[in-house]
């Protein structure tokens, strides 16, 4: 034995041995802690970092016109993106020249985008080129080893082929906002999901929106996909068939574009059921800007301009604009006069007097019509007659009329943010509070649709169109049918549905009463009335012009708003059309011809035999 070399060598060797065992024991203890005590925790950690869910966005349903023509669809858009996982290993700024050359993108723009990445540390992908071409994609694929940070991403992009046409009705889509995410109906969405932000896109969002699928993939430490574990296909959204007739819509848009101020609204509706055939509002906007432009500086600038523009292109004037209705207001007033027996069919005559004196103030009529009957007063738009009729009804009579014609609420059209008409019913409490009492002069002004009356174009069309169909006020609507969509994988089929037309509100009139008002409306165009210039032989238009002052009384402010609200043919209406042209002047001169343009388009399609006579009539003007 070697023990004789030093006094305690064996003990020292044993010490080394014990130290070795202790160290191994420490390691064993640590392994026990990591694998047995914390094993499940690290199992989960490992899984979380290797399994990624890549959403497959679902295409939204298309929006079609009543004949199945596409108004909105989704098409795949290829984007070149920077992947966040990759970028932390490289300095992309050094590669900007390569990117710019390969993708044919402005270098300055790339630098801008890369700087943006720095500001948002949590980003997943950053689009550096939208709507990439096949060449771009090929370039990215070919350089995938060299530039793994570049990836091609496909997502369906909303496409509005007609641009500004029907934009207010269709609306647009965008990323769900943080505010929306708090609402229960959006609770299952996640940031970045696309939802309808306006118009039909918003109103029918839950039908149009599909259910996104996902790819469950295995990724390596650099986020490169190693294997696909599971694919859940998305379920596309349901198609929406609208009541819109694209031809009429284009005609309406063209009329607004031709108008002097290019500001206003035109609506065409089927008076027999409330189907909106056309709804145009001008100035308009291009929904594509909202869809494609959000990620680019130019797009953002354009969107900001829309919001700042004093002509308010984002406003749907047809349902959100409030204007004094002017003389078009005389039609519900006439019906109210008969209903409330201020006048009768037998004796409907009231004095015109060239105007009326209230207190010491004289308010004039446009002419002197003697003591006309109701139909003549309508045809000639006699203010004096309606001043007196309004006074006979009194403000309470007017409020009763407002309730009868449902002017105190929105029409219920299937679009978001519809505004209600404002009437004496709404204003009376404010006026009484401020001025002590409701004065007769206000009743007089309210009788001819001025002052305390501010009507939405849709509400005026709805009420006047009802006169042509025995007083049936239908709820205007744009949805005709929502198509069903079949089951996809685990997602069940979603049934289709058609618009259920609510029972119309009936304006009670006797046949005689109706005939009297109708005769007046017919005369406006066909018997030397205010809008006789737009007469179409063989297709009698019944309507009412309106010229709404919007300057303060006695001052020379902006020009009047021109109204024309009508339906045709007069005694068996197929279509009702209205137009308002802002600050253009007389209704007969500016709004009626615009309405006529829509009728022409309607006739070319449905009554081509009448088109010949129509051109003759036009030449005869």
């Amino acid at each position: 034995m070697i023990n004789d070399y030093s006094q305690n060598l064996l003990a020292r060797i044993t010490t080394v041995q014990v130290i070795a065992y202790i160290l191994l024991l420490i390691l064993g203890g640590r392994v026990f802690y990591l694998q047995i005590i914390r094993g499940d925790y690290y199992k989960e950690k490992a899984e979380n970092q290797r399994i990624k869910l890549i959403p497959i966005p679902a295409p939204r349903g298309s929006i079609l016109d009543r004949y199945g023509r596409i108004l909105v669809d989704s098409r795949p858009s290829y984007n070149i993106v920077f992947a966040s996982e990759q970028i932390k290993f490289i300095n992309p700024f050094e590669r900007v020249d390569d990117y710019a050359r390969g993708l044919k993108v402005d270098k300055q723009y790339l630098i801008e985008r890369l700087n943006l990445i720095k500001k948002q540390p949590g980003f997943e992908t950053m689009i550096i080129k939208e709507n990439a071409t096949i060449e771009d994609i090929a370039w990215v694929e070919a350089h995938s080893l060299e530039f793994p940070e570049l990836q091609v991403e496909i997502r369906p992009q909303r496409n509005y082929p007609y641009g500004e046409v029907l934009a207010h009705v269709l609306g647009y889509v965008g990323e769900v906002s943080p505010k929306q995410l708090e609402k229960p109906e959006y609770s299952h969405l996640k940031p970045g999901d696309i939802v309808g932000k306006a118009g039909l896109e918003q109103y029918y969002d839950k039908y149009l929106r599909g259910i996104p699928g996902y790819r469950k993939v295995l990724v390596d430490s650099r986020g490169r996909i190693q294997a696909e574990l599971e694919v859940v296909e998305p379920q596309p959204g349901q198609d929406l068939i609208t009541t819109i007739d694209l031809d009429l819509q284009l005609a309406a848009e063209a009329e607004l574009a031709k108008s002097v101020t290019k500001r206003g609204a035109i609506i065409a509706m089927d008076p027999n059921n409330g189907e909106i055939l056309a709804m145009a509002s001008s100035p308009s906007f291009d929904p594509n800007v909202f869809v494609k432009g959000v990620s680019t500086p130019e797009g953002r600038r354009k969107i900001a301009e829309y919001y700042k523009d004093e002509n308010r292109p984002l406003l749907n004037r047809a349902i959100q604009g409030r204007y004094h209705p002017g003389s078009t207001w005389k039609i519900p007033l006439a019906v109210a006069g008969l209903q409330q027996e201020a006048i009768t069919v037998k004796n409907s005559r009231l004095l015109c007097g060239g105007g009326i004196t209230i207190g010491n103030k004289f308010t004039r009529c446009m002419g002197n019509h003697g003591t006309p009957p109701l139909d003549y007063a309508i045809t000639k738009s006699c203010d004096g007659y309606f001043y007196r009729l309004g006074l006979k009804l009194g403000v309470d009579g007017l409020i009763k009329m407002v309730e009868e014609f449902e002017y105190d609420r929105p029409t219920g059209i299937d679009l978001p943010n519809e505004k209600a008409t404002r009437t004496p019913k709404y204003w009376k409490p404010y006026v009484e509070k401020r001025e002590g009492s409701w004065k007769d002069i206000r009743t007089v002004y309210a009788s001819i649709g001025q002052d305390t009356v501010e009507a939405t174009p849709i509400s005026m069309l709805r009420t006047i169109a009802a006169i042509g169909v025995q007083g049936k006020m239908y709820v205007p609507h744009l949805m005709k049918e929502i198509k069903e969509i079949g089951a996809v994988g685990a997602f069940p089929a979603r049934p289709g549905l058609t618009y259920e037309i609510p029972e119309p509100k009936i304006i009670k009139m006797t046949e005689e009463q109706e005939a009297l008002v109708m005769h007046g409306l017919w005369g406006v165009v066909n018997a030397g009335g205010t809008a006789s210039r737009i007469r179409i032989p063989g297709f009698d238009i019944a309507g009412k012009t309106g010229t709404a002052q919007n300057a303060a009384l006695g001052t020379k402010g902006p020009k009047d708003h021109a109204w024309f609200v009508s339906f045709a043919p007069a005694y068996k209406p197929e279509i009702a059309v209205m137009a308002i042209i802002e600050n253009s002047g007389f209704g007969a001169q500016h709004a009626a011809p615009a309405v006529r343009g829509v009728y022409d388009a309607y006739l070319r399609k449905h009554h081509p035999e009448l088109v010949q006579g129509q051109t003759l009539a036009k030449n005869g003007l």
């Binding site: 060797i13 070795a20 191994l24 990591l34 199992k43 490992a46 970092q49 290797r50 295995l218």
Partner: protein, 374 residues
């Protein structure tokens, strides 16, 4: 050479030690395969094992005393190799010029092999001292001097991890060479006090850089200390070990942290994490037990050594191996900073396996000559 071996010697051949070592390497090859199934590391390791076993057998046939006798020559050769590494003959891998590429022999890592002549030198010097008198300061300084040259050259590569593995060689030899226990205790206390104090002073005076502080923080709290930066490797290693659970993922490539490249250097420095992942707690404990058994067997060999020099060689080898196992696995388990040291017998790498088996051959040689009388 075979003729020299006497039957009696052959009976003393420590088959258990050799089989134990070969078993660990085989287990390691399986893990190298798990770590990098698509690379040829595991095949290389098989070839390495065969060569290593042959060399170990050859070494065991030679009388260890002859080898110790020629220690200065080996030592000089080792230093030449380490110098050559720093010349253009050296190969740079990941910022470290630690490899030497020579014709015929191929590429190898001299710092792995030079441990052997260093141990022989230490054994020669300290083995020759007689009697029970305590170690003098001068003797200690000679020991330090033996270490300084190779360690200095290795630090120039720079390979701090390898340099570190030389320290326990000297420490073990000195401890077993009748150093006064009070010196041992004093130096232990000094380390325990000076390490934190110098760290504190270093931080205060700015001598210790921020990234070095980060590396320490990683050990204290691997999960929250910047898992994308310095903590990344440690944290990924901990996850890899942890997800092994009791029985491991058994080579499931879809779960493998190394196949998905979350785990860095899976076939070399982090081979234990791969082992833990694939074989779980049972595999880890088995491996640790195998190491314990191997070390016990070596220590038994040391106890039976016919002379002091043989004992010192084996014990230096035990000290170095224990240290390396602890540093490597400790790093893998997140209780020690990341230091690039291979796990003996497990990590892929011809240099490491060859040098280890040369040492084992040496131990076998000592063991076979236990009954030789002077």
């Amino acid at each position: 050479m075979i003729g020299i071996i006497e039957k009696r010697n052959f009976r003393e051949f420590d088959f258990l030690l050799l089989i134990l070592a070969i078993s660990i390497v085989c287990f390691g090859i399986w893990q190298i395969y798990n770590a990098q199934p698509n690379e040829i590391y595991w095949q290389k390791q098989i070839i390495g094992l065969i060569i290593a076993v042959l060399i170990a057998l050859v070494v065991s046939m030679i009388d260890y005393r002859t080898l110790i006798h020629f220690a200065p020559a080996f030592y000089a050769l080792g230093l030449i190799l380490l110098i050559l590494v720093l010349t253009p003959l050296g190969v740079k891998v990941k910022g470290q010029q630690a490899w030497l590429k020579l014709p015929i022999v191929g590429q190898f890592q001299p710092s792995e092999f030079v441990k052997i002549p260093v141990v022989l030198m230490l054994a020669k010097y300290f083995g020759e001292r007689k009697g029970v008198q305590p170690l003098t300061l001068k003797e200690m300084m000679v020991g330090v001097a033996i270490l300084v040259a190779p360690v200095g050259l290795i630090l120039l590569e720079p390979d701090a991890g390898q340099a570190l593995t030389y320290i326990p060689l000297l420490a073990t030899v000195i401890f077993l060479s009748a150093i006064k226990i009070r010196w041992v205790v004093l130096s232990l206390i000094a380390v325990l006090i000076l390490a934190p104090v110098s760290f504190y002073v270093g931080v205060k005076t700015g001598k210790i850089k921020q990234y070095q502080i980060e590396r320490i923080n990683v050990i204290l709290d691997p999960e929250n200390a910047d898992p994308r930066g310095y903590g990344y490797h440690t944290f990924q290693s901990i996850i890899t070990v942890g997800q092994g659970g009791v029985t491991g993922i058994k080579g499931d490539a879809e779960k493998s942290q190394s196949a998905l490249k979350f785990l860095p250097e899976p076939h070399t420095d982090f081979i234990f994490a791969v082992t833990a992942e694939n074989t779980g707690f049972l595999g880890c404990v088995s491996l640790l037990l195998a190491y314990a058994l191997l070390l016990s067997r070596l220590i038994m060999g040391a106890k039976f050594s016919p002379d002091r020099a043989g004992m010192l060689v084996i014990m230096a080898f035990v000290g170095g191996m224990t240290f390396q196992i602890f540093i490597n696995i400790g790093m893998t388990l997140g209780i020690l900073p990341v230091i690039g040291v291979p796990l003996p017998l497990m990590s892929a790498g011809l240099s490491s396996i060859l040098s280890t088996f040369i040492a084992i051959g040496f131990v076998l040689s000592v063991r076979m000559r236990r009954f030789v009388n002077y």
